[in-house]
């Protein structure tokens, strides 16, 4: 796949605080790349640097095939977003298309198509202030893709949407990627990212934590964990083989297992004196990885090493 955007060793400081440090990743044609991270991790700052709304202190941002930021080929849905209040939906869509140098006639057709698709048929002459929040968000989404961008940046596209609208958005984003649009998406809704993204870049406190394809990340980081209900000493559990760390809450203990554990063999070797009322083994979800990182249970670099 053709690489569309390369971000290399990006760094940025506000006053004395470093908000971004050595951020490097690529976005390819037709893929959905997700930037994940807790609030304040630096996702929006990274995106604003890519968009040229802020300027990085260090590093480079390269749009391949273009010298400068190809503003007319980028669609952008910022995290903090809104629309002019007292104008008609169609007027603002056409204005934003015009700013991208997109032919107005085509823009009008596409606007009507998308309004219909997003269940906003007949709303084109309604004033923006009469729309609900969700409707407004749909209009903003249409505005970001009306000019058929080659490159689409969506900062928290799902925030504030109901599940039905989330699905419509998800489907549309997927379709755009299939048609060859390179999509960079930031979110902290892990389940949605897990379903959508081809690759992900996890960031915390301005630094890279994980970067790779969804499958790589899952095999590498989403280790098995074993949940046991029963009264057991924490130290006993910690002495078991292949256990990285143990979390205990009353009678429930969660054992985080090492990467290359074979669940079947591991269960076979559990000591007989262990109290087991209930036992299940499953993989750590992206959600849990995320929370572990956000709450600082996992360090940077290799997951789990520091807690082993």
């Amino acid at each position: 796949m053709e690489t569309m955007l390369t971000v290399e060793s990006l760094g940025k400081s506000f006053k004395e605080t470093r908000v971004l440090r050595n951020i490097s990743f690529e976005v390819k044609k037709g893929e959905i790349m997700a930037i994940l991270g807790p609030n304040g991790a630096g996702k929006s700052t990274t995106i604003r640097n890519i968009m040229g709304i802020m300027y990085p202190d260090e590093g480079s941002i390269t749009f391949h095939n273009y010298h400068d930021i190809p503003r007319n080929k980028i669609g952008y849905l910022p995290e903090e977003r809104g629309l002019y209040k007292n104008v008609k939906v169609m007027d603002i869509l056409l204005y934003l298309a015009e700013l991208k140098d997109y032919p107005l006639k085509k823009a009008k057709e596409r606007a009507l198509d998308y309004l219909k698709k997003f269940d906003l048929e007949g709303k084109e002459n309604v004033s923006v202030e009469e729309l609900s929040k969700g409707m407004g968000q749909k209009v903003q989404f249409i505005a970001s893709i009306i000019h058929e961008p080659e490159f689409l940046i969506l900062d928290e596209p799902f925030s504030g949407l109901d599940p039905v609208s989330q699905d419509i958005f998800k489907e549309e984003i997927r379709k755009l990627a299939e048609k060859g649009t390179a999509i960079l998406l930031s979110s902290h809704q892990m389940n949605l990212v897990e379903e959508l993204a081809d690759r992900l870049f996890m960031i915390n406190k301005g630094q890279k934590v994980i970067y790779g394809t969804m499958d790589e990340v899952k095999t590498e980081y989403a280790n098995f964990k074993c949940t046991i209900r029963g009264e057991n000493e924490k130290s006993t559990l910690e002495r078991l083989p292949e256990v990285q760390r143990v979390e205990q809450d009353g009678n429930t203990s969660i054992l985080y297992l090492t990467n290359n554990v074979n669940p079947a063999t591991w269960i076979k070797h559990l000591p007989e004196q262990l109290m087991i009322n209930e036992l299940n083994i499953d993989r750590i979800t992206l959600h849990e990885i995320f929370i572990d990182i956000a709450t600082g249970k996992r360090g940077m670099g290799k997951v789990g090493e520091s807690n082993a």
Partner: protein, 408 residues
């Protein structure tokens, strides 16, 4: 530049479609007209009811009286009459705004002239009529044997007066303005009007910049255009709106003006001096527009404006401080100081040039240079503030932060 024009076009379109802008567009000149017309409706219309003054003259002073009344511009209808004093009551009952004067031996002997007035008569009449004492006094003195020369001396009386220089003597005492003054005043007033309406529209820029923040659309727009283009687009857009406002105002006010006042405005308006006056107004607009767009970007909402921002909003009204001194002496020290302070330059300079007969070209050129440079500087600085401020959603910037952005 293309993006700038697109944004300018959008701002114009958005406002033209906006009801409150449209209402303001027509309401401003209408209010202006009301201010002009309403007071004159309440004041007494002089031509409507002149006072009839009937004179029963037995001392042969009627000609002198007539000359005196002509000179004084009283709204009187002076007429001789032979009516007898005993019949006056009946006559007065049937007439309005009429007075009868009986100038006879009593005036010479007792110094009293009986005046019979109808019920409804100008309240100033009894004061005005005192003027007629002079010719009667003259007759009185003639009879007493005073010579003509002595008489002239006495009747001239003594007045306290300031020796007048030649310049100010050109200002006619009659209350009207000379053609020359009008030639200067009309373009000046026109430039002042342009300046005023674009400064007011300039304030809308400020609203627009802070709306961009409030509505959080700035980042979407900035993904397509550079901050400088957005800012310039707004400045140009609102300039066009200001011009529209000016022309609508003129189109509405001018017919009323020429109906109320008998002056050939058009002839006086299109003189070469107008170009310079309009240039001053234009530069003034650029200065204030740049200022407002920058300040607007630092504020989340007008209602939350801090003292600092409020102070800047008052700057366009700074020339009012100089109005008094400039009228007093258009080439005086205060007038010159006002000319060289960028924020008061446009207002003071336009006012001065409307008053001065000889234009101080050196001062004009220096002032224009100061104005142009400060407009450019203001544009640069506002650009810096705008770039950062417009993305600070929901927050007002403190002066400290603003200074930091300026240094960046």
């Amino acid at each position: 530049m293309r993006n700038t024009l697109k944004i300018a076009k959008w701002e114009i379109k958005r406002n033209i479609k906006n009801k409150s802008f449209l209402i303001g567009l027509f309401l401003t000149p209408v209010i202006f007209i009301l201010f002009m017309v309403v007071p004159s409706l309440f004041s007494n219309d002089e031509e409507a009811t002149p006072t009839n003054v009937m004179v029963n003259d037995q001392l042969n002073v009627y000609t002198e009286l007539e000359a005196l009344v002509d000179q004084s511009e009283f709204n009187w209808n002076l007429e001789p009459t032979d009516i007898r004093e005993s019949d006056v009551e009946n006559e007065l009952n049937e007439s309005e705004d009429t007075a009868y004067l009986f100038i006879d031996e009593r005036a010479l002997g007792e110094g009293v002239v009986p005046v019979y007035m109808s019920d409804e008569i100008d309240s100033f009449f009894i004061n005005q009529v005192q003027l007629l004492a002079t010719p009667i006094q003259a007759v009185q003195m003639e009879q007493l044997g005073v010579s003509t020369d002595e008489l002239a001396m006495i009747t001239k009386g003594i007045t306290f007066t300031e020796p007048t220089s030649e310049e100010s003597s050109s200002i006619e005492s009659g209350g009207g303005m000379t053609t020359k003054e009008l030639e200067r005043m009309v373009p000046g007033a026109f430039a002042g009007l342009i300046m005023l309406s674009i400064v007011f529209t300039g304030m809308a820029i400020f609203q627009s910049a802070s709306d961009e923040k409030k509505n959080k659309i700035a980042e979407i727009i900035l993904s397509s255009v550079a901050p400088a283009e957005l800012m310039q687009g707004k400045i140009i857009g609102y300039f066009a709106l200001g011009i529209i406002q000016t022309f609508v105002s003129i189109a509405l006010v001018l017919p009323v003006l020429s109906w109320r006042i008998d002056i050939p405005f058009m002839e006086y308006l299109f003189v070469p001096e107008l170009a310079i006056l309009v240039l001053i107004a234009l530069l003034g607009y650029l200065l204030f527009a740049a200022l407002f767009v920058g300040v607007g970007a630092t504020m989340a909402d007008i209602s939350t404006a801090g003292n600092f921002q409020g102070l800047i909003m008052m700057l366009p009204f700074a020339p009012f401080i100089f109005i008094g001194p400039v009228f007093g002496d258009p080439s005086g020290l205060m007038a010159q100081i006002g000319t060289y302070i960028p924020f008061t330059t446009p207002g003071v300079l336009i006012l001065r040039l409307s008053l001065l007969e000889e234009w101080p070209w050196v001062e004009i050129i220096i002032a224009l240079a100061i104005l142009a440079i400060s407009a450019w500087l203001c544009m640069k600085l506002s650009g810096k503030i705008f770039k950062v401020g417009i993305l600070m959603y929901g927050k007002n910037a403190s002066p400290k932060e603003i200074i930091k952005w300026l240094r960046a």
